[in-house]
């Protein structure tokens, strides 16, 4: 009940379809915020465009609903202008990995102090079910009527390679883990990334014999293996599975806005040499 203060309840009910997992992810984000004691008045939540990105409309804090794919770039401006504010990005898999892929790798590389939660439903929900860079190979979508030929990204490995300093993955079936990872991401100093698999029975499920949301959650349960389990499995056994858990965590890398603030302090001692 305490979490209700994090919601703009006057704007409920939300616009998500029945059975959609986005509400579970949003609920997990709110529970994580409560767990770590996020200051509601000093937090900005930024999103792009997509079903998931509408989450910001229901969050009772400073919220910014931007253009498709650009949430992290807007968030970068906010964090640099106001390093004292906590900046959280909530965005879809298409938003972050396709149109916004460049911003994702660069925010990770800079180690910007932003917490990014990826609502991965493996599909473009808002535009009614076209494939995304995270649609698993072989599955059917509106634009892959014969089964998807492309391989999907392992987004966690991608952002880790790009320089993210906290990286984890969970699903809407594994709610407790999701809350735990988002909570750790929120307290992490640097670019933190949590990918959450979420079900879209309407556009993903219906085309792939999982129109029932329970079937989709069941699929997540069966597909998921932990990092530890995966370490003991043969590559061929891992095919079609999804590894969940914490992949990477380090605080050895300086958070970007702090590095920049240090530069400002160093220069303020010297005065403006350019003053003529």
């Amino acid at each position: 009940m305490e979490g209700l203060r994090f919601l703009r309840s006057e704007h409920l009910p939300h616009l998500w379809c029945a059975g959609c997992g986005h509400g579970i992810v949003l609920g997990a984000v709110i529970r994580a915020m409560l767990r770590v004691g996020v200051d509601q008045d000093r937090t900005v939540v930024v999103s792009g465009i997509g079903c998931s990105s509408r989450a910001v409309g229901y969050l009772n804090m400073d919220t910014l609903h931007t253009t498709h794919g650009r949430a992290l770039a807007f968030a970068t401006g906010i964090k640099l202008a106001r390093p004292d504010l906590r900046v959280v990005v909530l965005a879809g898999d298409g938003d972050l990995a396709a149109i916004g892929g460049n911003h994702l790798i660069h925010a990770a590389r800079r180690n910007m102090g932003i917490t990014c939660v990826c609502f991965n439903n493996g599909i473009y929900g808002m535009t009614s079910g076209q494939y995304s860079p995270l649609t698993p190979q072989g599955f059917r979508t509106a634009t892959a009527p014969y089964g998807h030929l492309e391989r999907d990204f392992d987004l966690c490995r991608l952002v880790e390679a790009a320089g993210a300093t906290y990286v984890a993955r969970s699903t809407t079936y594994h709610v407790q883990q999701t809350i735990e990872y988002v909570a750790r991401a929120l307290t992490h100093d640097g670019f933190s990334f949590v990918e959450v698999l979420t079900q879209c029975p309407t556009y993903f499920g219906r085309r792939n014999r999982m129109a029932d949301p329970v079937k989709m959650l069941e699929w997540f349960r069966q597909r998921a293996v932990t990092v530890a389990q995966a370490g003991r499995m043969k590559p061929e056994d891992l095919r079609g599975r999804v590894v969940i858990g914490e992949f990477h965590r380090t605080e050895d890398v300086s958070e970007y806005t702090r590095s920049y603030q240090a530069l400002i302090s160093r220069l303020s001692g010297e005065g403006d040499r350019d003053e003529r």
């Binding site: 409309g57 253009t67 202008a81 003529r276």
Partner: protein, 365 residues
């Protein structure tokens, strides 16, 4: 009084932005705008501001809007191809009423064109580059000192009206070095964002992030509370108010210089770098006894319609020299409304229009 200095247009833009209180710059390098980024990378952290080179122009525009919403004066600078990339987020700044300044040092286009050569081909892009109906203010300097003055004004207008303001410079004005005496610091009005408590107007008060107001900012059509809406009446009201807040201030935003217009039979209307050649051509024509005058536009959008209409009513012809195939000439024609002939003189070969080539045009019409 400030000391005379030798200064480049881009440098004057940097000085103007700092005078205006710039504290955030995000950009992506592209000639002929790069000096602005390079100088600000050095200057901004010295005044407690932030410079960042983003991964592209789209990201730069996004970061500028984010920083502005967080309460600081923010700017980006680019050139033709980069300006095209910024358009979607420029529209976002317009609908969310986020003050910001976008410098576009024009170069030849379309596409990569003839890289870094001068042109004035982005007049219409600056007005209509993004989709939908939206307000925009576009200022176009003709000299180094004016680049300084208009940059300060750009911030003032952006803040007062909560609109994105485009400073439409060009390669010649940006790279030219001139002896300038800048206005003394603090003498140009810097403007203010409308904040809670200010008299009600068509520009709503601005709330910054971190003030505990828990706002929602969205590029969707929204009602006065900020929440998205699909109500046609709200939609209509929003877009008409956004466009109206600039439209209704057309006269205040008009910035023109007039030369020899009182007895003129022919008028030249020019802007940017071409205005300098044009003025020279006008003076040459006067020396030869032709009654030629000139109107120079420093604010292109909103278009100074009343000024142009008035000139058109008094002369036989208006000549519009520009480095594109008639982007402003068409607008002049609209404002002239058949009161006089409108003759365009155009170059798109990357060469600046010279006074000597314009003179015969003025003599003929």
């Amino acid at each position: 009084m400030s000391q005379p200095r030798l200064m480049q247009g881009n440098e004057a833009c940097v000085e103007g932005a700092l005078e205006a209180g710039l504290r955030f710059f995000a950009g992506y390098p592209i000639t002929p705008s790069t000096e602005i980024a390079e100088m600000l990378a050095e200057r901004l952290p010295r005044v407690g501001g932030v410079f960042i080179q983003m991964e592209d122009e789209i990201a730069s525009m996004a970061a500028v809007i984010g920083a502005s919403l967080a309460g600081v004066r923010a700017m980006t600078a680019t050139s033709g191809p980069g300006f095209s990339l910024k358009q979607e987020n420029l529209g976002y700044a317009a609908i969310t009423e986020t003050p910001c300044v976008v410098v576009n040092v024009q170069r030849v286009g379309p596409s990569t064109g003839m890289p870094t050569s001068p042109a004035q081909g982005d007049v219409m892009q600056a007005r209509w580059g993004t989709h939908g109906d939206h307000p925009v203010v576009v200022l176009s300097p003709s000299s180094v000192v004016e680049t300084y003055v208009l940059t300060v004004k750009a911030f003032a207008i952006a803040d007062e009206l909560r609109v994105p303001v485009v400073l439409l410079s060009d390669e010649v004005t940006a790279h030219m070095r001139e002896r300038v005496v800048l206005p003394d610091p603090g003498t140009l009005p810097r403007g203010e964002r409308p904040r809670a408590g200010r008299a009600p107007s068509d520009v709503p008060p601005m709330v910054h992030f971190g003030e505990g107001k828990r706002v929602l900012v969205t590029g969707l059509y929204h009602d006065p509370s900020g929440f998205w809406t699909e109500n046609p009446e709200e939609a209509d009201r929003l877009i008409r108010r956004l466009c109206g807040k600039v439209e209704s201030r057309r006269e205040q935003l008009t910035m023109v210089d007039r030369w020899y217009l009182d007895d003129a039979r022919v008028a030249v209307i020019a802007y940017g770098c071409v205005a300098r050649s044009a003025l020279r051509a006008v003076r040459m024509a006067r020396e030869r006894g032709h009654r030629v005058g000139m109107l120079r536009l420093a604010c292109l959008w909103p278009f100074p319609r009343h000024e142009v209409t008035a000139v058109a009513g008094r002369v036989e012809a208006i000549v519009v020299p520009e480095m594109n195939l008639g982007q402003l000439a068409g607008e002049v024609e609209r404002a002239a409304c058949g009161r006089c002939r409108v003759v365009g003189y155009q170059r798109v070969d990357s060469e600046l229009i010279r006074p000597e080539e314009l003179l015969p045009v003025l003599e003929e019409v």
